[in-house]
Subunit: 361 residues, 2 copies
């Protein structure tokens, strides 16, 4: 790939353009908001000049609702050898393009699984896609050269290609992304009118469950509006489990021992199925979850405490896989949980104790 045209210079388009430019591809930038394209160009993402001749790859990075029309226009004008979009939903845009009578042989729908809290060109970054899955949805009719252009884009952005059917993709993101977003919002919404004394009791569990409920509504309305069917299907299944769980809890209040036993079985069932599903969530490097051990260290709240802790952990030569800081209520101390390979935990614990750290057993 020597040249590319990025249409839509928000977070995704600018990030892809920055990555391509950094690796020597000649990138042209276009946006219906010319100032956004100029901002991306000023960041080094490419040029706002017109390409003059067809580019190797046209990358459409506009909101889901505008993808089909933008692509149809670009294909109609013959702007490139190949065309792709990066929208978060894949079935609808393809069907819209078919309805518009487009020749889709030189088009491939894609979705990089990356994002961040902020949007717009200034949030763009050449490393946004590094190590992230980037879904490609070729069909039997997709030109092989175009598939290879898409694979080259993914490689230049240092992402990991994943080939899927467009509708399977939409069902998958409904399951692993869109449903968790809405459910987190529903749990958080219960707190809106909660008493302060109840809110004071919040711990790490609800903090984790509701973290993404703080997301920007406008962006999520766009995403959900483009994938309502698959999300409603998954939420419907959650609703079935929820109804059964409420019935099981009510049965636990029954005077009838058989009913109570049935209620307990229902509660155990959902907890065990939750265990089984959680065990499938990939850990680091996409591998199956590995057994880790947590070394928990109490620290003060002064600047430099974490630095000192990590310097001391580093001196032990141990690779820390993950870090979690548990916040305390009403005082300055915190508990830092270091996730490490179980084989290295005893050495780390001993080394930190030697250096005066309080380790929770």
């Amino acid at each position: 790939m020597r040249t590319a045209l990025v249409i839509g210079t928000g977070l995704m388009g600018t990030s892809a353009a920055l990555a391509l430019s950094a690796r020597g591809v000649g990138v042209y930038l276009a946006d219906h908001d010319e100032s956004a394209a100029r901002t991306a160009a000023a960041l080094g993402a490419g040029s706002t000049d017109s390409p003059g001749q067809p580019v190797d790859l046209v990358i459409v990075a506009v909101p889901p609702a505008h993808v089909a029309a933008t692509l149809a226009d670009a294909i109609g004008r013959g702007l490139g050898r190949g065309y792709l979009d990066v929208a978060s939903v894949k079935g609808g845009p393809r069907r819209d393009l078919e309805a518009l009578g487009c020749d889709l042989g030189h088009y491939i729908g894609t979705h990089p699984m990356a994002g961040r809290e902020r949007s717009g060109p200034l949030a763009g970054s050449a490393d946004l896609f590094e190590g992230r899955p980037w879904v490609l949805t070729p069909t039997a009719g997709t030109d092989t050269d175009v598939l290879n252009l898409a694979l080259e884009l993914v490689a230049l952005c240092r992402a990991v290609p994943v080939v899927m059917d467009a509708d399977a993709h939409d069902r998958a993101v409904a399951l692993v992304s869109h449903t968790p977003q809405l459910v987190a919002s529903m749990v958080a919404a219960r707190l809106e009118h909660a008493e302060d004394s109840a809110v004071r009791l919040c711990g790490q569990g609800i903090l984790d469950v509701t973290r993404i409920a703080g997301s920007e509504p406008a962006m999520w309305m766009d995403i959900l509006a483009a994938n309502p069917g698959p999300v409603a299907d998954v939420l419907g299944d959650v609703a079935d489990d929820l109804a059964e769980t409420v019935a099981a809890l009510r049965a636990l209040q029954s005077a009838d021992e058989d009913k109570r036993r049935g209620g307990a079985a229902g509660i155990e069932d959902i907890l065990r199925r939750g265990n089984a599903g959680r065990a499938k969530v990939p850990g680091k490097h996409g591998a199956a979850p590995k057994a880790y051990e947590i070394v928990a260290v109490l620290i003060g709240d002064q600047p430099g405490e974490l630095a000192r802790l990590f310097a001391d952990a580093g001196a032990a030569g141990v690779n820390i896989e993950d870090v979690r800081i548990e916040h305390s209520t009403g005082q300055q101390a915190g508990l830092v949980q270091l996730t490490v390979d179980p084989r290295t935990a005893p050495a780390l614990t001993a080394s930190l104790r030697d250096r005066g750290w309080a380790i929770r057993k």
Copy 2:
């Protein structure tokens, strides 16, 4: 308080006993499993001897279903000046004690909001309760000396006392702890039979939402069985929001523009209420959420990378409020998000850049 008797030497009882012993209180230990009491004694939690005379405070730390009978027996035998339990549910045990005809003037129900993944005396720790809320549920009939004994216990364990009505407590933990647990299990359960290609697309959002779905079912069955009514009430409210959200998503698929507009409004409503509820979740030190800024740094996966990063961050004199490591799929690099006071972010970014770190804009 000079003497205490801890009945039930699991995680909670042993942790309280360790804290009291460390601060000079004479602690006696009892458990229906004598080996558990001996293990706690071997850890330095106290003595397995019989106290001989009434202690200042009897602390009942047995599973919720056994709390009332254990307390009734201790009160009947006059084992102490004051009595409390530490079970995770408060209304039921009190009503059971009343039904048993106990004099409850010298009893106070309490609940320390602390825990960990492991159970049993070996998981106990003198600092388990440090900085955590510890709920006390006195009534008009509670003896003031007994309330003060409970406050002394909380202070010796370095926890933060929170006074609440017993039933308000049970509704609060249903809201902030028991409901999030079950909902996390329901989201995770959707993954149990998901295709591998879908599971590969899991990102940080679903990882956070489902983290507590990995919890031990047996412990949660005990907790939920002791608080079924309030949990069913909150889950019922979630079910109402869920049904409305599914209807809103279906309306988004309608050919009728008014219906689509109504669907979009429904989706926006739940996302905005989620924002409002999430904003109420206390951040560090129980304060209202503060505006933080995230400085995101790319690191390699070698031992010592985090140590080097934190040493360099420490050299900048910046207090890091939280750390999150985002794992990459299929490669060795990781993204570390450092949460800091916005006023210190520019200095930290500049300092880390000077030391050669790649900072994501």
